[in-house]
Each structure stands twice: as structure tokens, then as C-alpha cells.
């Protein structure tokens, strides 16, 4: 009986692998066919040399980095403070951080356009820099569920309250408690949240498109509508960026394990 269930498991994994790998192979194969006389990396060369690609990818990377910095500055102190001083607010804060999973991105950005349009009390869509700020804030909103959950889990794993009290009783000042005790212990949680945020933000389409900013997502859409082979090359690049982000999370999660044991 055990061998039949193992056979079933193999079949399930095999079909799953086929479904998930086939599109990748197909995309890769298609991306190599730009030259009519055989496989080549021509599509990648064209894409990477395109100033539009460089500009939008750079813009989205910058946005992702800013989002991660602002997101961490917003989430880490809040999560720490909630655990330490205001535990009864935890359900409320958790609820708020999960809202972006409930309210679709398109609805949130629609709200921005209504609330912050150029004739409103806070015309953030009025000029480009302000719109960039708005876009970044929208990305922080999108990243909130991932960032908060990983930071909160990291803080919970180390029992912040006891660690803080121990550091206080040993005479540590607040800055050194935060920088030398708390932060090193949740570093990997923060980093994994950060990489996940990067993966989400880098190819984001809806927010950037509706706020009219030159990000990578809208560029992808534009190329997709007008070119044949480049989109496949871009899809492979995007997949590798996502894969790299996730791979880095794994690396940091693995490094964190022994560190947590000694802590």
C-alpha cells in the first residue's frame, strides 16, 4: 500500500513539474528564435541595449530600494514597539497590515487618484517627484503584509521583551539595545522581507501604470504589445530576478538558524 501512495506522489510531482517547467522552457526557446537562421541570444542583446529597458529597470530598482528602506523604517520600530509596550494593539496592527491583501492594488491606486489629484488638498499627483513619492508609498503599502509578517515573526522568535529587559538590566542604552541586541537577531527576518518586497515591486504594473510613472512593469507591457521575441527574453530576465530574490532569502534564512540557536 505504501508503494502505491509513493507512486501517486511521484506522479503528482511529475505532472506539477511539467506544468511549471514547460512554460519556462517554451519562453526560453522562443526568446532564442529572434534570428531566423538558428538559436541566438539576439533578443537579450536587443533588450539589454534598449535605453528604455535600462531606464525603467533602473527606475524600478531605485523604487524597490527606497520602498525597502522606508518599509523597514516604518515596520521594524512599530512591530518592536507593539511587542514591547502595546501588545493589545497587535490585532489592530495585524489587521491593517493584512488590508493590502484584501483591497486590490487597483482599488488602492484609484483611491490615490481621487484623494491626491492635482485639484485636491494634497496634490501629490501634481508633479513628478511628488508622484514618485506617492508610487513609493503605494509600494510600501503593497509590501506591508510581507514585511510586517516576517519582521513580527522574527521578533517573536527571540522574545523581545526579555531580551530588552536583560539588556536594560545590564545597563545598555536604548540605541545600543536596538542596534546591538534587537537588530542583529532579526536581521535575517528583515532581509527576507526585503527581498520578497524587491521581487514584488520590480515588475509591478498596476500602480506604476495608473500613476503614469516610467517603471519596468509598464515598459514590459509596452514591449509585449509591440514586439515578438523581446517579451520572452524579458520574461526570462524577470523570472531570474524573482528567483535570485527568493534564493537570497533562502541563503539568509539558512545562515540565520545557527545564529538563533546561540542567541
Amino acid at each position: 500500500m505504501k508503494s502505491t501512495s509513493r507512486l501517486g506522489a511521484w506522479v503528482a510531482i511529475a505532472i506539477g513539474t511539467l506544468y511549471f517547467v514547460l512554460p519556462l522552457i517554451a519562453t526560453f526557446e522562443f526568446s532564442l528564435k529572434m534570428n531566423r537562421d538558428g538559436y541566438s541570444f539576439e533578443a537579450y542583446k536587443v533588450v539589454l541595449a534598449d535605453p528604455g529597458f535600462q531606464a525603467t529597470f533602473g527606475y524600478s530598482t531605485l523604487m524597490a530600494v527606497l520602498t525597502i528602506i522606508v518599509g523597514i523604517l516604518l515596520v521594524v520600530p512599530t512591530a518592536y514597539w507593539i511587542q514591547l509596550k502595546l501588545p493589545r494593539l497587535r490585532p489592530l496592527v495585524e489587521f491593517i497590515t493584512l488590508l493590502p491583501l484584501v483591497i486590490p492594488a487597483i482599488v488602492i491606486v484609484f483611491g490615490y487618484l481621487k484623494l491626491y489629484n492635482s485639484s485636491s488638498w494634497l496634490p501629490l499627483t501634481g508633479n513628478e517627484r511628488a508622484t514618485d513619492l506617492l508610487l513609493m508609498c503605494s509600494y510600501v503599502t503593497l509590501a506591508l503584509p510581507y514585511l510586517y509578517r516576517s519582521v513580527d515573526a522574527g521578533l517573536r522568535a527571540i522574545d523581545v521583551r526579555t531580551l530588552t529587559e536583560a539588556a536594560e538590566s545590564l545597563g545598555a542604552s536604548w540605541p545600543s539595545i536596538l542596534l546591538q541586541v534587537i537588530f542583529p537577531n532579526v536581521k535575517s527576518a528583515i532581509l527576507s522581507g526585503a527581498f520578497l518586497t524587491f521581487a514584488v515591486v520590480i515588475g509591478e504594473f498596476t500602480m506604476a501604470s495608473l500613476l503614469g510613472r516610467p517603471a519596468f512593469g509598464p515598459y514590459l507591457q509596452l514591449i509585449g504589445a509591440n514586439r515578438a521575441y523581446e517579451p520572452s527574453a524579458l520574461a526570462i530576465i524577470a523570472f531570474m530576478v524573482t528567483w535570485a530574490s527568493m534564493g537570497l532569502i533562502q541563503v539568509f534564512a539558512r545562515n540565520a538558524r545557527p545564529a538563533r540557536k546561540t542567541a
Binding site: 506544468y19 511549471f20 482599488v107 488602492i108 484623494l115 503599502t141 509591478e204 498596476t206 524577470a238 528567483w243
Partner: protein, 304 residues
Amino acid sequence: MSTSPDSLTHRPEPGAGQIRKGLTLSALNWLGVAPFFLFALLFLILPTATLMIGAFQDADGHFTLGNIAKLFDDSILSAYWISFEVSAASALGGTVIGLALALAAIQGGLPQWIRPTLMTFSGVASNFAGIPLSFAFLSTLGRMGLVTVLLRNYADFDLYGTGFSILSFLGLTLTYLYFQIPLMVLIVTPAIDGLRAEWREACESLGGNSVAYWWHIALPILWPSIMGSALLLFANAFGAVATAYALTGSSLNIVPILLYAQIRGDVLHDQNLGYALALGMIVVTGLSNAGYIWLRSRAERGRE
């Protein structure tokens, strides 16, 4: 220890000081979370609230139910219906297949490396949504896609001759499954890990076989998690814009694309109807998320 009258008379004063200090401390405590709440208010709650209010206003700001009534026009209702169908189909497929994959990897007795590989891949694939995903499926199942071509050349099977199109309901569902299945794997894995080996052993020692274990114990325990995950998957698909837009343009009439087009000013030209559309989306995703949270808390309650 000292009980001298001196210390007694002095006691109330530091006490009062402590209360005052406590008050300023709690005010400080609130200050610590103020940036977060301010951010949430400005970029999450107010924007959503203003839409919800807008849904009940006409162009001049007067109260009306007219926008909500317009949601029940045939064209809009059909958009909701197609959205519902795509989301439900991809949620159902994602739930069943994702569950099967997770069970196979965790409890199927496969080699050790399968599980971490599946988990890492699921992390990647569940985030590989949006426009690149639509490119990948066009390269696979589009008219010139690899699978379409291979089937035509080697199996003599004309996929598009059967009425299939990647731009259709079925095509979109198949594409959505690419992030729905891995998402299911990620959500349901903790629940499967929660199935304790002793439950199976207890069942065995009481005379129950494998079927009895799954039917009477494992599935009932997993059931709230499975249902909850399905609802989360449904909400996830219902709000997705980019994949569908890049894949089908405006050819498939689903709500997020309708709303996208409305915001871009392509159709409708009625702001307040747009707000009502948004409200409708929040209601649908909100309800399914509420269901998810409720079921998850039920699932957690049972854990010892």
C-alpha cells in the same frame, strides 16, 4: 521596612508622580506607533474610504444609490460573473492541485530534497505573476507557442481547432494557476505539518486503515485550512489586473480590467460608477478574506 511616620507621610507624593509619569509614558508609547498609523491612514484607509463614499454619491456629491444600481446592468454584471468564474475556477484548481503537490512532497515518502525544492520554487512562482507570466504563457500556449506547435507537428492535434485560445476563459484560468498552485502549496504546508504522526499511529492502533485515517481524521482536521486557502486564492485572483491585461488586453471582460480601463478614461466616463465598481471588488475580496480568517481561526482552535 521602615515604618516611621516620616516615610508614611511622604508616600503619596512619589505615588502621584508615578501616575503622572505613567501618563506621559503611555502618551510616549502611542507616539511610537504614530508614524505607522499615520501612514496607514493616508495611504490605505483614507483612499479606500473615499472611494466607498464616492460610490454612494453622484457627480455633484449628493447621496445616491444609482451607482450601485448600475452595477446590476447586464454588461457590468457579466463582467463580475466572468471574474467570479475565472477566480473560482483558478481557486478551485489551485486548491486541489496545490494540496495534492504539498501532500505528495510532505507525506508521500519521496526523497528529502523534494520538499525544500518545491517550497523554494513555490516562493518564486507565487511571485512570478503579472506581465512576464503572460509572456511565458503566450510563448507556451499562444498560437505560435511551443506546446501548440509541438502538438500540431508531432501529435497532429490542432489545439486552436478545438476552440481553445489563451485569451479565453480557459486560457486565463490556466495562466492564473501558475501562481495559484504555488500559493496554495505555501499556505497549506503549515497545516499539513500540523498533522501529527501520533494521530495516524493512534488511528492504526485502534484498528483504522489509511482510508479511515484520511476520511475520519486528516481531512476533517485540514478542512478549515483547505476551505480558507481556497477563499484566499479566490480573492487573490479576483484582484489581479496585470496578468489578464497583458494577456488579453481589453478583450476579456473582467472587473479589474473594466476598472483599469475606466480609470484610464477609455470607457464609461463615469467616475462614480468607477467608485461603485471598486466598492464591489472590495466587497467580494473582503468577504472571501473574512471567510479565510474565520476558517483559519477555527483551524487553529483545534490545535492542542
